[in-house]
Amino acid sequence: MTSATTSQPALRAPRRLGDRVFSIAATTSGVIILVVLASVAIFLVSKSVPALVATDKEVTDVGMSFWGNIGPLVFGTIWAAALALLFAVPFAIAIALFISHYAPRRIAQGLGYAIDLLAAIPSVVYGLWGIMVLAPAVQPIYVWLVDNVGWFPLFAGPVSGTGRTVLTVAVVLAVMILPIITALSREIFLQTPRLHEEAALALGATKWEMIKMAVLPFGRPGIISATMLGLGRALGETMAVAMVLSPAVIVSFALLQSQNPTTIAANIALNFPEAHDLGVNVLIATGLVLFIITLIVNSLARFIVNRRKAFSGAN
């Protein structure tokens, strides 16, 4: 023991090589992230520019124009995603409440897994299911809707013969984003301070009144940001839309017709394999627009989450 320590050259040692190498490696990884995202932006922009400045002649050569298509595409993207949210959010909140406050505690976790399973299924399988199972199943309902409430603009005819409408797409998208919104809402609901809940119950509130008084107000920012994240996912979802929708580049609010506004992502997936020359640039430019839209939506979601973290005294 004595000899070992005294023979050490006092406290002196060189700057450790291992430490240097390791910290440089870790920092480099962080920098790679920076470089990659910068290059994503640069490459997409550089490949988009030709489409933005194309002359009329070039446009007629490939039959695709950025400025002519982007309006309807953005409309279609937002329209389909908004419809999906309309279905998904109420269900997600109800399911999150069921799992956090209604289901017996022993099985609640298992039920949560069941919903999470929905997130594990690849989108191409959702597409296949949407077109082969859901569309034929809902088509008779669409016929009934057009026949009986066709005077209402959303349900105007002529009805699609296949069920491959924007409404069907919205249902598929809703199923796909349901687990995201549910998981986040559930987490927030479970964080409701026990004291608030018990205070409400002690005042003689029923379970629902307690949820209205304590859980929902506490969870509202969480629900909003979960919704935004779900929206971000729905905006970018490609395959389910590409497979189920019978697409057209139009602006239309009709839900049940065979001409439906298509989305940016689906439009790229369907046209990219055949695209050439300027067509490729046009599609990449629309992709850039999609990127910007999702970026804004996701940033808003993060902003809400972070603001809540900063102000909430609960945790």
Binding site: M1, T6, Q8, L11, R12, A13, R15
Partner: protein, 259 residues
């Protein structure tokens, strides 16, 4: 092999906040020195400057000198890692490595540094260190089980065995008994008494009776108020501090008037 520690005009900062001001004291080899004082008075912070553990906290820095046998720990060419091999530390809460067995925990200082050690040397070191920490009899039949399966007091003694296995010259203890029951505390105090024969020991404690039981010298730290730096108020033989303190604040604290 245990060494004298001389601290001169030491100031400790966390960013802009001065946590400890102007501490000078000398700790003699093979003694037990206790740091006492109210919460937040900087005694733990000061302790951590004795093996440069405070540097782990971002923004922490030091002015002044800490000399161990004439060599300043804070000289530019000193490697904090080498300092910590000579000045070991035991923490408030027992913290054995959960991924390692009891034997591996004892050998952690060797193995984590990639040092080669033969099997027989390793076994010898484990036995010697565990015996040194009064733990050998209790665990010799389950050396390969996880260390986290032991009781709190046993875990703390395992941490002491781990610290002495790297043959340090000084052992710092940051409230080593505050998370333990009275019987485990007694076992640790007996152990400190034995370790004193070989090592210089510095112990931070909240418990004044403990300081009076185990230490030869006692340092009393205090703060003037929140946001003010901690200061060394009085440093003397333990009997003097407890029976005949020179400063009024020390007497007030010892007699339980505040803290």
């Amino acid at each position: 092999m245990s060494k004298r520690i001389e601290v001169k005009d030491l100031n400790v900062y966390y960013g802009k906040f001065k946590a400890v001001e102007d501490v000078s004291l000398t700790i003699e080899p093979r003694t037990v020195t206790a740091f006492i004082g109210p919460s937040g008075c900087g005694k733990s912070t000061f302790l951590r400057t004795l093996n440069r553990m405070h540097e782990v906290i971002p923004g922490a820095r030091v002015e002044g000198e800490v000399m161990i046998d004439g060599k300043n720990l804070y000289d530019a060419d000193v490697d904090p890692v080498m300092v910590r091999r000579q000045v070991g530390m035991v923490f408030q809460r027992p913290n054995p490595f959960p991924t390692m067995s009891i034997a591996d925990n004892v050998l952690a200082g060797v193995k984590l540094n990639n040092a080669k050690i033969s099997k027989s040397d390793a076994e010898h070191l484990v036995e010697k260190s565990l015996k040194g920490a009064n733990l050998w009899k209790e665990v010799k039949d389950r050396l390969n089980l996880p260390g986290s399966g032991l009781s709190g007091g046993q875990q703390q003694r395992l941490c002491i065995a781990r610290a002495i296995a790297v043959s340090p010259e000084v052992i710092l203890m940051d409230e080593p008994c505050s998370a333990l029951d009275p019987i485990s505390t007694l076992a640790i105090e007996d152990l400190i008494e034995e370790l004193k024969a070989k090592y210089t020991i510095v112990i931070v404690t909240h418990n004044m009776q403990q300081a009076s039981r185990v230490s030869d010298k006692t340092a009393f730290f205090n703060i003037a108020g929140t946001g003010e730096p901690g200061k060394l108020i009085e440093f003397d033989d333990t009997t003097t501090i407890f029976e005949n303190p020179h400063v009024q604040a020390t007497e007030d604290y010892i007699s339980g008037r505040f803290g």
